[in-house]
Amino acid sequence: MNSLSKDYRDIIEKLKKEIGSENLIGYEIPRPRRIWFSVRKEKLADAITHLVGEGFVHLSTITGLEGENGLEVIYHLNRKGLEASLKVEVPVKQPVLPTITPIIPGAILYEREVHELLGVVFSGHPNLSLLILPEDWPEGVYPLRKKWTHEEIKKKLLRRT
């Protein structure tokens, strides 16, 4: 466990050095094989590039959610079972993040999913057309935002017809 935690501290120190300690908002090691990072959204691309260079080449998925302070996007990166989850916060008013598809091409569908269900715009993404929702889905209805309850979505869909 000791050598393991040293390894984890190394990863954290290197990331801190790469993006600057003021841009790494927080980190946590809740149990073996799990690390959580929270970074400023301006440094997202740099942080991902650095972690990919450190061997975290596998992106398991991207989770989007609406928390108390706005939208949160979590990148689940992986290196041989060591799961590094990188969290960025984006304001609801202007939910824009840079795309990471040039760094990890496998992110292409995950970004589209977060875009459709939560309304986060990934600037520079090659194709943000609809992937999951129907073509006639009303604009501005992001089903995974807390404001859009089942009843609200139903009302909106009924009003449309």
Binding site: S60, T63, H76, E83, I132, E135, P143, H150
Partner: protein, 391 residues
Amino acid sequence: MSSIIKIPFGPQHPAFKEPENFMFKVDGEYVVDVTPRIGYAHRGIEKALEARTYILDLYLIERICGICSHAHTTCYTQAVEEALKVDVPPRAKYIRTIVTELERIHNHYFWLGIVAHEIGFETLFMYTWRDREIVMDLLELLSGNRVQYAMNMIGGVRRDITPEISSEIMKGVKVLGERMKYYKKTCSNERTILTRSVNVGILKTKDAIALCAVGPTVRASNVKRDVRADDPYAAYDEIPFHVVTYDGCDVASRIATRCDEVVESVEIIRYALEHLPTGSIEVIVSRLVPPAEIVSRVEAPRGENIHYLRSNGTDKPARYKVRAPTLANLTALCKMLIGGYIADIPVVIAGIDPCFCCMDRLTFVNIKNDKTWAWEGEKLRGYGIKWYKKQ
């Protein structure tokens, strides 16, 4: 391009097995580009999970997939148990492992039959689906159900393995392992299968890594990535097993990988039954889950399955995210199809073991004259078989 997708037909058509849409651009017999359009079966489960309690969610999670239902509930119960800081009894962990591996055997037998069907080798299809009954009977004996076993609960498992059931499982898996060795020999010698699978649907190692492929698909491209070994859960840290990899990067390697995985699963089940710990199979847990953020992963038969849970102290999750393996392999699938023949489309798509099972509707665009036409999966399958007969 967008006008082409709108065909006044389907996708909820009685002739389709599962609704899905791929738009292909073709030049003669070659596929030049492909665009997937998913979501016809999107049921809004993630949103629904937020409106239900953790106990009710277990039933919903079980129904995400008809075949890897146990993989999803294992992932879910693991996440909730971690948030609750509960340790599951060792016996329950072993039983979870045994059901997981039985499910993998079931899935791989099922898949081999589908691949055989897609390439028109109906004999192998019939043989594998006959043998699949053995594992389904074992699952029924163990859980009471042929599919959706409902074995997992938060804090353990619902049913115990008695010595009688244990000996029945031992007998059954022995047959399954031997039969699969025979099918693997057939698949690596039979000319029909070799012609349709060797050098078909190539996914190079570097592409497999860059496109974040998972499961047998990535292991057939010579990447040793398996959650059971890398990030052990249930009883996998105590059970010795090999991670099967092949370096052919084609459909033939994907067949070989899955055949060997079945043999490996048989060994895991045998070891787990022989070393089954004694004791209880469940612990009583609280209905309120303290605030936490959990990432839970399991190796489903089709590949890495990842769930994310954020709890907030109530009896309902604040957010629950599910990523099933087919979505992870979809980008890699598009890569495999480009540059291949139209006739190879069914077997390449079946090769990743997609959860939408069979292709439902295709749109073709001939880039020379911009002509478009649409095919159903069944018609394309017939076209592929005929095309190869002519060669």
